[in-house]
C-alpha cells in the first residue's frame, strides 16, 4: 500500500513473514519429528562418532548434520529437541502471560490495595537473580517438563505485571474511561472491555518475547543438566555436549545453537511485526 509510511509497512511485513515462516517450519518439523527425523535420536553407534555434516569430506550419507561423540544423529536430535523447546515456549509463555497480565491489569487499573500488594510482590520477586532462582526451583521440584514450566511461570510473571501495570495506568487516565464510568460501566467491566483491548497489543508483544525467553531458560536448564532426563534430546543439552568437543566436532555445538538463535530471534520479531500490524493506534 502506498501511504506515507509505505516503506515502513513493507519492512514490518517482511519481518513478520520471515519470523512466522521459521516458526511455522519449526512447528511442522517438531510435530512431524517421529516421521521426518532420519535416525533415532537416542540410537548410539560408537563406530560412527563425530561424523561431519554432509558437505565436509568424511561425511556418511544419511547423517546430514553429522553425529556427536556417541554417534547420535545431530539433525534428528535437533528436531526432537524442538518438540521440547516449543512445548515449553507455548505452555510456559501462555501461562506466564495470563498470570502476569491479569495481576498487572488489576494493579494498574484498580490501584489501591491490590496495587500495593502486587507491586511490592513484584519488587521482591525481581530482587532474586532469575537464572539462579530457576535452577533452585527445578532442583527443589525435581527435573521434568512440569518443573521447567513451573519455574519459568514463577519467575517471569513479574515482567508482564510491570509492563501491563504501567500501560493500564496510562490508559486508565484517558477520557474514554471516564465516559465509560459515567455511562454506568462497573470497574471490572471497564477493565475488561475498555482497558484490556488497548493493552492487548503490548501483551501480544510481551507474550512472543516471553516465548523466546522460555526457550532460552529451557536451554539453560538443560545446559546445566536440570531439564528433562539427561539423554533425551534438548538444545541446551546438545550445546553442553558440543562445548566439550568443539575443537574436534564444531557441528555438534553450532547447529543446535543456530536453531536456538533463530527461534528466539523469530519470536521477538514476530511480536514486533504483529504489533506494527494490529495496533490500532500505530496502524
Amino acid at each position: 500500500m502506498l501511504d506515507g509510511r509505505g516503506t515502513i509497512r513493507h519492512k514490518a511485513g517482511l519481518r513478520l513473514w520471515l519470523s512466522a515462516l521459521w516458526l511455522g517450519l519449526l512447528v511442522v518439523l517438531a510435530l512431524g519429528a517421529p516421521w521426518i527425523a532420519p535416525k533415532d535420536p537416542l540410537a548410539q553407534d560408537l563406530m560412527l562418532g563425530r561424523l561431519p555434516p554432509f558437505w565436509v569430506s568424511g561425511a556418511e550419507p544419511g547423517y546430514w548434520l553429522g553425529t556427536d561423540s556417541l554417534g547420535r544423529d545431530v539433525l534428528s536430535r535437533i528436531l526432537w529437541g524442538a518438540r521440547l523447546a516449543l512445548t515449553v515456549a507455548l505452555v510456559a509463555g501462555t501461562l506466564t502471560c495470563l498470570i502476569g497480565a491479569t495481576l498487572g491489569l488489576m494493579a494498574g487499573f484498580l490501584r489501591g490495595a491490590s496495587d500495593l500488594v502486587i507491586s511490592r510482590l513484584v519488587d521482591i520477586w525481581m530482587a532474586f537473580p532469575p537464572v539462579l532462582f530457576s535452577i533452585l526451583l527445578v532442583a527443589v521440584l525435581g527435573p521434568g517438563l512440569f518443573s521447567i514450566i513451573a519455574a519459568i511461570v514463577l519467575i517471569d510473571w513479574t515482567r508482564f505485571a510491570r509492563v501491563v501495570r504501567a500501560e493500564a495506568m496510562t490508559q486508565g487516565a484517558m477520557d474514554y474511561v471516564a465516559s465509560a464510568r459515567v455511562a454506568g460501566r462497573g470497574r471490572i467491566g471497564t477493565m475488561a472491555l475498555e482497558i484490556l483491548p488497548n493493552v492487548l497489543p503490548t501483551i501480544g508483544v510481551l507474550l512472543t518475547l516471553e516465548m523466546g525467553i522460555a526457550v532460552i531458560v529451557e536451554a539453560i536448564l538443560s545446559f546445566v543438566n536440570l531439564s528433562i532426563s539427561t539423554d533425551a534430546p534438548s538444545w541446551g543439552g546438545m550445546i553442553a555436549e558440543g562445548r566439550t568437543s568443539v575443537h574436534q566436532a564444531w557441528w555438534v555445538l553450532v547447529f543446535p545453537l543456530l536453531a536456538l538463535f533463530l527461534t528466539v530471534l523469530s519470536f521477538s520479531q514476530l511480536g514486533e511485526g504483529l504489533k506494527d500490524r494490529f495496533d490500532p493506534v500505530l496502524r
Partner: protein, 288 residues
C-alpha cells in the same frame, strides 16, 4: 425546582487541603449553567463530583448533590452509578482520548445503550445513526464502521456529542468541550452543543474558562476562585454589572480582538489579595 442542586459541597485532597469550599449551585431543567474560573479553581472537580468520577486521591467530606431531589451521596455506589448512567452524560475535554482507540465508533455509541440500559441492538443502532445525522455527520453508516484514529478531532467531538445525547439524558456535564479544538471548529461545535441542548431540553453544566463562550451559550454562571463560588448569577446581569471585584477583573481581562494595540490585562494583584482574604476567612470560619 432545579434539576441538579449542589448544597455546601466540600471536597478535600485525602489528608490535605480543601479543593471545593462549600460549593452550592442550582441547575434548572433545560438550563445551561456555566462554571468559570482559572486553572485549578475546581471547575472540573464539580462536574466530576456530580458524575462520580473524582480521582481516588480526593474525597467528598460533606454536602449534598441532589439530582431531581435524590441525594447522590447518600446512595449505594452501584445504585448511584445506575442512576447517573441512565440520566447523565459527559462531553469530555479531549476528543482525541475520549474515544476508545481499540473499538469502532458505532459500538462505542451503541454498546452502552445495549449493555447498560438494555436497549435492543437494532434500536440502539438506529438511534446512533439518527444522532450522528443530527450532529451533521454526512455518512453515519460509514463513520460508525471507522476507528477513532481515522477521524479528525472535530469529527470525534461530534461523535462524542452524539454519544452524550444518545440515551436522552436529563443532565450533561460538558468539561471544556471546545478547548482542544482549533478556533473555527470550536465555533461549530459550540453551536452544535447549543442546538442539541435546546432541541433535547437537556440541562447542561458547562465548564469553561472562556467568558466569550459563556456569553453565547449559558443562562447562568458560577465564578469560582480556589474552590469557592465568588459569584452565582444570571449571564445578563453578570455581563452588565458583575458584583464581585474578581468577576469584574476577570471580565476586564477578556482580550479585545478588535483593537490590535490593546495588550492583555491581567487580574490586578489587589483583587487577587481581596479574594484570597475571602478564601482565608471562609477557611477560618470552617475551622471554627
Amino acid at each position: 425546582m432545579s434539576y441538579l442542586s449542589i448544597r455546601d459541597l466540600e471536597v478535600r485532597l485525602k489528608g490535605g487541603g480543601r479543593l471545593l469550599r462549600r460549593v452550592s449551585l442550582d441547575v434548572a431543567r433545560g438550563e445551561v449553567h456555566g462554571l468559570v474560573g482559572e486553572s485549578g479553581a475546581g471547575k472540573s472537580m464539580i462536574g466530576k463530583a456530580v458524575l462520580g468520577t473524582l480521582p481516588r486521591s480526593v474525597e467528598i467530606v460533606s454536602g449534598q448533590i441532589l439530582l431531581d431531589g435524590t441525594d447522590l451521596l447518600a446512595m449505594h455506589p452501584a445504585a448511584r452509578r445506575r442512576l447517573i448512567g441512565a440520566t447523565c452524560a459527559l462531553i469530555p475535554q479531549d476528543p482525541l482520548t475520549a474515544l476508545n482507540p481499540a473499538h469502532r465508533v458505532g459500538p462505542q455509541i451503541t454498546d452502552r445503550l445495549v449493555d447498560i440500559l438494555r436497549w435492543p441492538r437494532a434500536k440502539a443502532e438506529a438511534r446512533a445513526r439518527e444522532l450522528l445525522a443530527e450532529v451533521q455527520i454526512a455518512e453515519p453508516e460509514r463513520v460508525m464502521r471507522c476507528y477513532p484514529h481515522e477521524l479528525s478531532g472535530g469529527m470525534r467531538q461530534r461523535i462524542l456529542i452524539a454519544s452524550a445525547f444518545a440515551a436522552e439524558p436529563k443532565l450533561i456535564v460538558a468539561d471544556e468541550p471546545t478547548t482542544a479544538l482549533d478556533v473555527t471548529v470550536q465555533k461549530q461545535i459550540l453551536k452544535l452543543i447549543q442546538a442539541m441542548q435546546e432541541r433535547h431540553g437537556t440541562a447542561l453544566l458547562f465548564v469553561t474558562h472562556d467568558l466569550g463562550v459563556v456569553s453565547k451559550i449559558c443562562q447562568r454562571l458560577s465564578v469560582l476562585y480556589a474552590g469557592m463560588v465568588v459569584e452565582d448569577t444570571d449571564v445578563r446581569t453578570f455581563f452588565r454589572a458583575p458584583q464581585h471585584p474578581y468577576s469584574r477583573a476577570l471580565l476586564a481581562a477578556t482580550p479585545k480582538y478588535t483593537d490590535p494595540t490593546h495588550s492583555l490585562t491581567p487580574v490586578p494583584e489587589a483583587v487577587i489579595a481581596t479574594v484570597r482574604a475571602e478564601v482565608a476567612e471562609a477557611d477560618r470560619r470552617a475551622g471554627a
